[in-house]
Amino acid sequence: MRDEPYRWIEAIQDRRDYIEDQLRVGSPVVGLTYNEGMVLLTIGRGQRKIFEVHDRIALSAIGHPADIERLRMLVTDTASVQGFQNATEDVNLHRLTNFVLAHTFKQAFESIVGEAYIIKMLLAELGGTSEQNRFTGINYDGNVRTDAAFSVIGGTEAIETRMQNYLAAASEDADRTLAAALQLGLEAWAIGKELSSREAEDMESEDTEIDTEQMHEIINLAKEDGEIEAGVLETTQSGTSKFRLLETQEIETALP
């Protein structure tokens, strides 16, 4: 098939359509920094989506659970071996994404006879100082994007843009508390969730503004048959491992 470039390009496009179709309904994940670290959060239904990779690195993803699991193991194993053979300080997000994950994603996506990974990943790395905190998103095709203060993964690129815009507008206060970060993150999540349930053409139109009241309705509705899941990398944690999943009660008390 590679001898016939047009068929190859067509096959890649089909693959892209197929994967994006599968990802569209995924529950978004929002990553935010706060005054004592970084938080990743989503609302899910049973399947855990936020994970600890290494001392200062956390991972979340949307897509097929089996693919998420496989790639999560790859990155966790690699980080664990590197951290042991050298030192834990030698494990960093840049190397994991660029030398391990990105080409694995790309290779699977472009080898059109093999299986494709239905996945979008968002990783967070707690830096030595708050300026060094990093979010890295990896798309199913191996494209890598890095952000500092906040980042999201959602069903489509358009959804992600809308969520990012909301966060950018509300994000002047980088010194927010964890409670404020959870609140803001959930609002962005609600935008993503609402848009992914709409048809593609609706999303483009102008009158799709979602106000705060609507957001809270969406969050409350989602909480009825799902659960808020949030993991933090916190600078206040003693010892080298900085990751912790928040308890349900902690999340409840933080929210108004």
Binding site: R48, F51, E52, V53, H54, R70, L71, M73, L74, T76, D77, T78, S80, V81, G83, F84, Q85, V100, T104, A108, S238, G239, S241
Partner: protein, 273 residues
């Protein structure tokens, strides 16, 4: 490591290391004779006691080779995770490696399997590492006999969840209910520990943190008096023994300020001696 040769290690860090071609055991020449009668050298004193809030575990700071003092700031009490500590006596190279593998194993299990390794699982892991090191122990060059202290979070709130485990060179573990001590200086204080635990004015297990600290400092001082391989408190260089507590809230190290105060109380007439 690539996705193609990724296999499921089911949370077993040793399996992962083997897969990554990490040499887990030091190779020994085949013609080396096994001297089972060689006594395992473990020149040090480490001691753990159960006190009111959990376990307090301490070690002196001296490292020796034969009769020479090599180093006076060695750390022999190592934090393994949020609720466990390993105190080592024996060959430092192997002991540090065991501690490091243990720390990474617990982390790897938690990260890959999405749950903490159970208390029993943690104990077995350490047994396995000590047993795998038997060949070295039998040569008389790499023996390690640790004390492993941890806090059992499953224990009811009202009960003391602190637990102390003692290992032999083959990896068998035994739970010591109220105290444990190992190393060359331990013979001088085991009887004292037993006495304090059974007949002390305040039994060990009822002591608060300060009382336990003073007791431990006095025990190490006693061991250093009779054992040349155990250091006491070096006032001139301000070198204190390492003391850590393992409680429901986690592992803490006692600060030098804390120890200076406790020392003043432990040996009010220290200058006169």
């Amino acid at each position: 490591m690539s996705i193609k040769n990724t296999i499921n290690h089911k949370g077993d860090f040793l399996s992962l290391l083997q897969h990554a071609n990490y040499p887990l055991q030091v190779g020994l020449p085949s013609e080396t004779q096994h001297h089972a009668d060689i006594e395992i050298a473990h020149s040090t004193t480490v001691v753990a006691v159960r006190y009111r809030d959990g376990v307090m575990i301490a070690g002196d700071r001296r490292a020796t080779a034969g009769t020479a003092v090599i180093y006076d700031r060695a750390e022999k009490v190592l934090r393994i995770d949020r609720h466990s500590v390993l105190a080592i006596s024996g060959s430092p190279a192997i002991a540090y490696e065991i501690a490091r593998i243990l720390e990474h194993s617990f982390q790897y299990f938690r990260r890959s399997q999405l749950q903490e390794l159970s208390l029993e699982g943690k104990l077995r892991m350490l047994s396995r590492l000590i047993r795998d090191n038997l060949a070295m122990a039998l040569q008389g060059i790499g023996g390690v006999i640790p004390i492993f202290a941890l806090y059992d979070l499953e224990a009811p709130e009202a009960k003391n969840g602190g637990k102390i485990f003692f290992y032999d060179a083959l990896g068998a573990h035994f739970e010591n209910v109220n105290f444990a001590t190992t190393g060359s200086g331990s013979i001088w204080i085991r009887g004292v520990l037993r006495y304090l635990s059974r007949f002390g004015e305040t039994p060990l297990q009822e002591m608060d943190e300060r009382q336990a600290t003073i007791t431990i400092l006095r025990l190490l001082d006693t061991a250093s008096e009779y054992d040349a391989a155990t250091s006491g408190y070096n006032a001139r260089a301000q070198i204190f023994p390492t003391i850590k507590t393992v409680t429901r809230t986690g592992v803490e190290s006692l600060s030098d300020e804390n120890l200076t105060e406790a020392y003043a109380e432990a040996q009010p007439d220290a200058d006169a001696v």
